[in-house]
Symmetry: none
Subunit: 152 residues, 2 copies
DNA sequence: ATAATAAAGTCAGAGAAAGTCAAAGGTGAT
DNA sequence: ATCACCTTTGACTTTCTCTGACTTTATTAT
């Protein structure tokens, strides 16, 4: 059951694919196209095109205003994954880990199978014996260790 | 006299059969159909569609929310992996885990990359924050969960 | 300069869906 | 009749989405 936000997300991603990593949108125009309030575009951008997901957003208000969304470059998979590893820190929630994993999978830096394995390794079922206060720490260790293995 | 939970279980299993191993349900809708409280669906899922029984469950809350249930595939020659999963027990040493992983890789049931990921997930570096007395238990959970994901 | 207009941003509240948990209700074996 | 185990229920919580009123910033016309 794809919600409107999902549809808008897909639409923007297709635009980005077609334009080689960067797209400029008009918030009101896009909202008009999808028959929603303009602020929903902000919601989609905030939840789907944030930096955790590998996107960079700039905008300008006033006449001729616009929103520019850029996808981080994946020319150098090693650098990109290394960047993620470094950004993970000592702890990571399951939600945040999933986002990072989806991100590298979306960029085709890992296969679907690898994505599934990464997710299976760090979900709460795998970590059910670990005391809750330690889980996010263990999750970060596992994720970093596995990502590191991928680029080695 | 079949309890309602059994009826719901059968119903979901039939849906899974018809849709080739994976089904997406709407918790409230299903509860409405069976005239029960929504949380009964959670009960059925927790008791009948858990990983010990070869199912994987994911879900999303909020508008457009849903529950996805996947069943281990039966048409692939993965009996051996299931056998290993069942034989692992509550704990497994790193050494023993490595042997099992090598075995599965030798039989070409998983790729080299998958083998590396499995090993990376369960080594002592990944588990360095886990108290030593708990490590083999966590290792067993992670390994079983990942292997299960492979045969889904 | 100033005012009007044309964008985009913010934020809180309403709504939509699933999750949790403990208490109550059945059922079957001893 | 009791105990242990399974099932059912519902109140409360958490997460995700959508909306609209209000604010801020930039450009254009007077």
């Amino acid at each position: 059951m794809a919600r409107l936000s999902d549809i808008i997300e897909d639409f923007i991603k297709e635009m980005i694919d077609e334009t080689d990593g960067q797209v400029e949108i008009q918030r009101n125009e896009l909202a008009g196209y999808f028959n929603c309030v303009p602020s929903q575009i902000n919601y989609v951008i905030a939840t789907r095109f944030n930096s955790e997901r590998g996107y960079f957003v700039e905008s300008k208000r006033g006449g001729g205003g616009h929103i520019t969304i850029s996808r981080m470059s994946t020319d150098k998979p090693y650098d990109y994954i290394m960047h993620i590893i470094l950004s993970i820190g000592d702890e990571i929630s399951k939600h945040s880990a999933d986002i990072n994993i989806d991100n590298v999978a979306d960029l085709e830096l890992i296969s679907e199978e690898e994505k599934n394995l990464l997710k299976a390794a760090i979900n709460d079922n795998s970590l059910k014996s670990v005391p809750v206060f330690l889980r996010d720490k263990v999750r970060a260790d596992i994720l970093k260790n596995m990502l590191m293995k991928i680029i080695i």
